[in-house]
């Protein structure tokens, strides 16, 4: 369906929202179907790694997927989430319509109309949807874990060699192999997942 690059671009993007749209993300709206739909699309997209069907969203938010519930969800999406640009509707075929979030980070803004012209002013911090609902591939998590693993293993290798636990030959072979693996992991993270590591790990 969508490429992984497209999904990553959505994660990295910070979408600006006016107050009347940002309200759907706020705590005070946690009982509203609109917010439940937003979080459901986010969770389902992370599992499917792509856009999701109306029936899946209806099942997740209402526990049922009959036509009545699907109509209710469709109406809510079209009346609020599509208009605010929070959700994108993709038609793959006449009978295959799917939905996906346009972004996973949002900035509340205020529009100022002055004699200098129109401008926007950010209000508060950037809101981000829970990280465990971001559509990130298994490969990305594995790369992060392996990066940590190889870094820690190299530290242990150095201290073991200093403590004369292993001979020099073995130390040099393992050091070279593990460094090579760590370099490959870093290269993959920098090329395919540029910007994500800092966003996902450092700010968590």
């Amino acid at each position: 369906m969508l490429s992984e690059e497209d999904l990553i671009a959505r994660i990295l993007k910070i979408k600006q929202l006016k107050e009347n749209c940002f309200k759907y993300l706020e705590e005070r709206s946690n009982q509203l179907l609109t917010q439940k739909i937003l979080f459901a699309i986010s969770e389902l997209t992370a599992e499917e790694m792509g856009p999701v069907k109306l029936s899946q969203i209806a099942q997740k938010t209402t526990g049922e997927k009959d036509k009545l519930k699907q109509d209710l969800v469709r109406l809510t999406i079209e009346k609020s989430l599509l208009k605010c640009g929070l959700v994108e509707k993709l038609k793959y075929a006449s009978n295959d319509v799917r939905y996906i979030l346009t972004a996973y980070q949002f900035q509340k803004i205020k529009e100022i109309d002055s004699f200098r012209g129109e401008s926007t002013q950010p209000i508060g911090d950037v809101f981000e949807l829970p990280k465990n609902t971001w559509p990130l591939s298994d490969e990305f998590y594995l790369l992060l874990a392996k990066k940590h693993g190889y870094e820690e293993s190299l530290n242990k290798l150095h201290s073991d060699y200093d403590a004369d636990v292993i001979p020099r030959g073995k130390y040099e072979t393992l050091n070279s192999d593990y460094k090579k693996s760590l370099d490959q992991i870093n290269e993959r993270l920098d090329s395919k997942y540029s910007g994500l590591e800092a966003l996902v790990v450092s700010e968590s």
Binding site: S3, A46, N132, Y141, L144, A145, K146, E152, D160
Partner: protein
């Protein structure tokens, strides 16, 4: 009085002429327009007034939706009859600064494009590549997908081997397991949306290692098979090497043949012991015999001071044959590899506890 009337009429005449000229100039200055149209009426034409002295910037999306599965992408524009080719791109707006000195016309030309989705691998390329540098292609283009048959998932441990592919989940084909490193699909005509799925199986690396001798059996194997392994232990001159045991995995070993069941990446190491029987037979025993003869002769002449046991003499001889070596801990490779696995698992768990990884993904990754 008459003179005054005539003077007044002249003044009115001068004033009227001046105002008329200004009005006429004002009307003329507002008549410049920009007419924007699209070849084959892909989008509605429109016209905008151009205000003299101000720069007008025309903006147009590079791509826009045609229907559920296709889009149009800008290819060129014609400004006052002069055609200009555009650098193709999928996203963003094309902008053009239009001079406002006179009226102009711009005609945009766009081509329909269809998407070609590829699932099952990230290691692929399109032949030819997309003119918009994504997975969208101009209508009527024939495109092949080139995929690397083998992708290493975990360095020297786990890899993915492409075994088959399908087009639009309707037709399925197997990919021949030959020596080639990549596979290219036949050309696919892009006159509608198409999806290509690749199917793969996982393979695991078996490493058979030993400090002494040459091992057999190392290689890539699919899960669930049993692989025979072996070692040609050899020797160092008179000191022979002999296999004592296999370490590192569930190795079935009956003293002669050994087999490993592949259930993931495996490293097994052969423990080899040095066999000194030949040294003892060829060097130690003759020395002892000669020593014993010499001792008898010496005993006849000199009183015995101390009787050394035979074992001590053997130890001394072996010590001379084999130089003293520093003893390092056995099985470091395996312990180190286990440490790496523990660190990876602990990081995954940490990310799961910090709600970075969802429960379902965590359980899937952990099982893998």
């Amino acid at each position: 009085m008459k003179l005054l009337i005539i003077f007044g009429l002249v003044l009115f005449g001068i004033f009227f002429t001046s105002v008329y000229n200004d009005l006429a100039y004002g009307q003329f200055s507002n008549t410049s327009t920009l007419k924007v149209s699209f070849e084959n009426n892909l989008l509605p034409s429109y016209e905008v007034p151009l205000i003299s002295g101000q720069i007008f910037t025309l903006s147009q999306n590079h791509s826009w939706v045609q229907d559920e599965t296709s889009r149009y992408n800008l290819e060129s524009y014609t400004l006052d009859g002069e055609k200009v080719k555009l650098s193709r791109t999928a996203r963003g707006d094309f902008t053009l600064s239009v001079p406002t000195d006179s009226s102009h016309s711009v005609v945009f030309s766009a081509v329909p494009q269809y998407a070609l989705s590829v699932d099952g691998t990230n290691d692929f390329s399109f032949l030819p590549s997309s003119p918009t540098n994504d997975n969208w292609f101009d209508s009527g283009t024939e495109v092949s997908v080139n995929v690397q048959k083998t992708t290493e998932i975990e360095n020297n441990k786990v890899r993915q081997e492409i075994t088959g592919w399908s087009l639009d989940n309707v037709e399925f084909w197997e990919i021949e397991n030959d020596a080639s490193t990549s596979f290219t699909t036949p050309p696919i005509m892009l006159n509608e949306y198409h999806q290509v799925d690749f199917f793969a199986e996982y393979q695991y690396k078996l490493n058979v290692i030993s400090d002494n001798g040459e091992t057999t059996g190392s290689g890539w194997y699919e899960q669930g098979i049993t692989v025979p392994i072996g070692i040609e232990s050899g020797g160092d001159g008179l000191v022979l090497n002999s296999l004592s045991e296999w370490e590192g995995a569930d190795v079935t070993y009956d003293g002669n043949t050994a087999q490993v069941f592949i259930d993931g990446p495996v490293t097994v190491s052969a423990k080899v012991e040095k066999n000194y029987s030949l040294v003892i037979g060829m060097i130690v025993i003759p020395i002892l015999v000669i020593g014993a003869v010499g001792f008898r002769k010496f005993k006849n002449r000199v009183p015995v001071v101390e009787e050394k046991p035979v074992e001590r003499i053997v130890e001394k001889v072996i010590e001379r044959v084999e130089a003293p070596e520093k003893k390092y801990e056995d099985g470091y490779d395996k312990k180190f590899s286990d440490y790496l696995s523990e660190q990876i698992k602990s990081k995954l768990q940490e990310m799961h506890n910090s709600k970075i990884i969802s429960d379902s993904k965590y359980s899937k990754i952990n099982n893998f």
